[in-house]
Symmetry: C2
Subunit: 441 residues, 2 copies
């Protein structure tokens, strides 16, 4: 993984450092703490969420080092605190869900154990990564379901921050997209890159009188990329565009892309035109503000692949996952904010997922860390919580991105059928808290 | 400006490079082109948009250089194309709206002139930056209006990609926010940083029996940050929290922060409690999923400042600005995609903004580049289009972030009063196209 290893330490809210400083002053900095990442609900009444960003978090934690320039700027800190930052390296433990896993309300996605000082200042960067990557992966997974096996290219880089675009490409690939338009993501993570041409390519090809020459554009693309390329046929008139494409490329043309109009109607008309011309193998790729609902609406249409941009990189209506990082245990004592309407079980936690023998998931079982809980004999259980960092070092045998992608595909298959519904509704499986004392008011 | 100067060249869609390669092959690469950045509409029927990211775009363009590692990965390109990339530097012209300006549908926000080859490959990074930064600034400007002069701290870093958070902090500051929680943004752009403490700070303070000790937490914070700090009083019980805060800090306490509950009701109750205790100068800061509508709803309440997170960094319902980068002119000929329902005036453009003598804006006047258009004698006009890059070099005298922030504040004052409405509705001022031939069908 070719990650940029700049310091991640200032991707942090100021109050993390002022709390650290105050803790050093009042003697609480070295208390043993457990912080937990979880979400209280799924955005937009979705049925499941997808954990993404874990590998990026582990990387960010192990590269959380303060530079002298950063420390010099932090003139609001005591000298003692600055010395602490100079020597900072996380030496605690991180456990959590595997990247690519499904999660539900109160799933303990990640647990960070160590001193208050070393754990508190990781909050912002951990949440930034998990909230953005999980938002994208959660949307992407629904889009993959809707596409029903047809390939999807992620092409949303231009609709989100330039570095967010790289992480988004990674998250969509984990969730089952097939390729990305983003070159940096391809270079950094080994994701297949894909792309052909834009409307500007066709518009560039004017003749000596400044008149459009679509055939010249198609010819130039074919000469450069071969007949198997995909030609964008909707710059002027789609029927004429397809005609021009076939005239230039012949019936072995790889594909045509349609980026406007009612994609159901247009794809059926274009399929007919292609078939009548004998171009039976020419694929139809569609794009243009597609989200999971638009794609589901094309299930019966002759579409061979999708390009998805804006919707997926912005989380398709839920641009952040709403995960929080909460202190749940201090020196062995469970702690929790008192809030009406929020479940607040303090203490470190682990989770099991219970399945029927058919492999269908039936419940998320959250229990106190290190406590065995009774298991029902008719169900099978899987440990959701795995070690990620031990004594500050990333645990060996981290999965490759391909492993993570396969894990997600397998996990999605365990959802009960209601869990794949795109509509708003109930969470796919309930979360049970087992082995906790009754919450106090 | 302390920017990270890594190569920006791979923050790019693959098809930009395959088009470049094809253009080198078919002889169109050196055609003179004009690309234009604009939006066809404002998201969510808003009244105006805010241009942000311009300075970051200029930086990205001048650091758009391909590394050997990148070129080696691009095995889908011809050797000729790889040589072009090795020697790439943008040597063309960029004009556009000043950062911080208002924009409307079809405002020509940025115009890039040069050869097809040098302009086309900048598309993705230009749009990534302008779409994300303008989305945040546009939301932030509405939030600033709603806050009606009361200060706002941006604290949304944890809800967006870790680098997007830095850019978002910058965009909110331009739009009129007063400070950010994000340390990297403070270091990189000189934005005031702000922050006090989280619930974890209070929860950390348990006594020997593991029981909560809110007063110990408040004491620790006061000892470290002084009496002028802001104490977070809603971890357990707000009334008791305020009582504890005053007991520890006295009536000179700087502020209390409330992060949950009905903020109108709670702020009134807390103000009463503070006043009755004589803490007349203790400020009330509120946070908790605030957006422009929630803030507007608190206009009559005794709130002295706002912390805004999720909503602003995700564009408050519009996470991307929807700006596009379109080829509008080739070798002096206007070009445009044919699309029903879209205004498509080809050719390079400039814009004026027309004002009444009172200073209120009345229209955006878009006209062909380099053509003087008739001006109405009863209106005043301002040139919106300014030179940003000349022959590849950023034009001298770029504004500081403080200048940009002041420019935005002044621009917002020119909106007609309907333009400040938070509700969905008409664009604040119409866009007139003057001096173009009638569009052809």
């Amino acid at each position: 993984m070719n990650q940029p290893h700049r310091s991640t330490a200032f991707l942090t809210d100021m109050y993390e450092l002022t709390m650290l400083d105050a803790a050093i002053q009042d003697g609480t900095a070295e208390r043993d703490c457990i912080f937990e990442v979880f979400g209280r609900r799924l955005p937009n009444e979705r049925r499941y969420g997808v954990v993404a960003g874990t590998a990026r978090v582990l990387d960010a934690i192990t590269h959380f080092r303060f530079t002298e320039e950063q420390i010099a700027t932090a003139d609001f800190l005591s000298e003692e605190c600055k010395d602490y930052l100079r020597n900072y390296r996380f030496s605690g433990q991180v456990d959590g869900y595997r990247e690519g896993e499904l999660y539900f309300p109160y799933s303990p996605i990640m647990t960070v154990r160590g001193t208050f000082a070393e754990c508190v200042i990781l909050e912002t960067v951990i949440l930034s990564i998990l909230n953005s990557d999980s938002a994208v992966a959660s949307a992407a997974s629904r889009i993959v379901s809707a596409a029903d096996g047809r390939p999807i290219i992620e092409m949303g880089s231009r609709r989100t921050h330039e570095q967010s675009a790289v992480a988004a490409a990674r998250a969509t690939y984990i969730a089952g997209f097939d390729a990305t338009s983003n070159l940096e993501a391809s270079l950094r993570y080994g994701i297949p890159a894909s792309g052909t041409s834009a409307h500007s390519w066709t518009l560039l090809h004017v003749d000596e009188d400044g008149q459009p020459d679509e055939k010249a554009a198609f010819r130039g693309q074919i000469d450069s990329l071969g007949t198997d390329t995909t030609l964008l046929v909707d710059t002027f008139d789609i029927t004429k565009g397809v005609e021009n494409a076939l005239e230039v490329a012949g019936t072995e043309l790889g594909g045509v892309r349609i980026d406007s109009g009612d994609l159901g109607i247009v794809s059926r008309r274009v399929r007919k035109q292609l078939d009548e011309a004998g171009a039976f193998n020419t694929r139809i790729i569609v794009s243009s503000d597609l989200d999971e609902f638009a794609i589901a609406g094309l299930r019966g249409d002759p579409v061979d692949g999708f390009g998805v941009g804006t919707s997926v990189v912005t989380g398709s209506g839920a641009p952040t996952a709403g995960l929080v990082y909460k202190l749940v245990e201090v020196n062995g004592y469970p702690v929790a904010k008192r809030s009406s309407g929020k479940v607040t079980y303090g203490g470190g936690k682990s989770a099991l997922r219970a399945y029927r023998s058919s492999g269908v998931a039936v419940a998320e079982v959250v229990h106190p860390l290190g406590i065995d809980v009774p298991r029902k004999p008719n169900l099978e259980y899987r440990e959701m919580t795995t070690p990620l960092i031990r004594d500050g070092e990333i645990v060996d045998n981290q999965p490759s991105i391909e492993d993570t992608r396969a894990l997600h595909a397998a996990a999605r298959k365990t959802l009960p059928w209601e869990g794949l519904a795109l509509s708003r509704g109930e969470v796919a499986i309930p979360t049970h808290f087992i082995g906790f004392p009754e919450p106090t008011e």
